[in-house]
């Protein structure tokens, strides 16, 4: 066997190796968070970062409190929070897509009616929202 591979195989992974892995994953997730323009891609990057945080909980549990399981419990809560976050995020993206016809975050820098013109289901829903706004105004203007 190649001596380098043999050395790697014989080397027991310590705290530093585990933490190096989680920090690599966290950094890649942060890079994706900052560079992606698709909102779904950004949510994926956030998932990666949360995942590495959960891994950190389990790793510190194993190396600092080997007889207990608090890190595992916290990892379960991290997973629950990630699930809730994904549900709400996806609902927001679907609603945004209905209204604007895109999930590109570069085009979401305005909270008011978008001026971009997009073909597709966004047109119909924009009509719908205009109607709703008119009714809301007529109810609250007097």
């Amino acid at each position: 066997m190649n001596p380098l591979i043999a050395q790697i195989a014989a080397h027991s992974p310590g705290l530093r190796d585990w933490l190096a892995l989680t920090s690599v994953i966290f950094s890649i997730g942060l890079y994706g968070l900052l560079t992606r323009r698709n909102a779904v891609g950004i949510l994926m990057a956030v998932e990666l970062m949360l995942n590495s945080a959960a891994m950190n909980f389990v790793i510190f549990n194993r190396f600092c409190l080997p007889a207990r399981m608090d890190g595992s419990v916290m990892a379960i809560f991290v997973i629950a929070v990630a699930a809730a976050e994904v549900v709400v995020g996806m609902a927001i993206f679907v609603a945004l897509y209905r209204y604007r016809g895109t999930v590109d975050v570069n085009q979401m820098n305005t909270m008011q009616d978008p001026v971009i013109s997009i073909e597709g289901p966004g047109d119909f829903n924009r009509e719908v929202m205009k109607n709703i706004n008119k009714q809301y105004k007529s109810r609250h203007d007097h």
Binding site: I8, A9, H11, S12, P13, D17, L21, V24, I25, I28, G29, Y31, G32, T35, R36, V40, G41, L43, M44, A45, E47, L48, N51, M55, V58, I59, N61, R62, P66, M69, D70, G71, S72, V73, A75, I76, F77, I79, A80, V81, A82, A83, A84, V86, V87, V88, M90, A91, F93, V94, A95, Y97, G120, P121, V128, M129, N131, I132, Q135, Y136
Partner: protein, 171 residues
Amino acid sequence: MNAVFYIAAAVAAVSTIMVVSRSNAVYSLLYLIVSLLSVALIFFVLGAPFIAALEVIIYAGAIMVLFVFTIMMLNLGPQTAEQERKWLSGRAWAGPSILVAILMAEMLYVLWGGDHQVEGRHIVEPKEVSVALYGPYVMIVELSSMLLLGGLVAAYHLGRRVHGDGKEQQP
């Protein structure tokens, strides 16, 4: 067992890089699933098999279904059919399936060929985790249940269909 860690870590790093570098959302989703599976294997090696199972069930199962559903939903239009043909071309799943094959080989090695008793490591059993969840951590369980309920209500509110007259559609 040590080599298992390094190979799984390499698979995790490579698939994570692919997640952020692919421009097609479906490609990066496939790589994200590989990344989550490799992290599950790492949890397994770390002595937390319960968390590994939860990772596969909740992350790679439920959350990924949500992602796939949303990506399918956001790609409506006349180009859908052609896109769907392109999505599952051989190039799309060749990389993820190679990485997953590596993970599966590791899993089989752990199951059959590996050294099972490694340095008397403490394995976190599901029973102790459950006892702790409903013992000292019961308040956080309640809080996360409220969080999940809030997420459910918010998702229903945001995802409801609105008619032109401003009234909500009756289901």
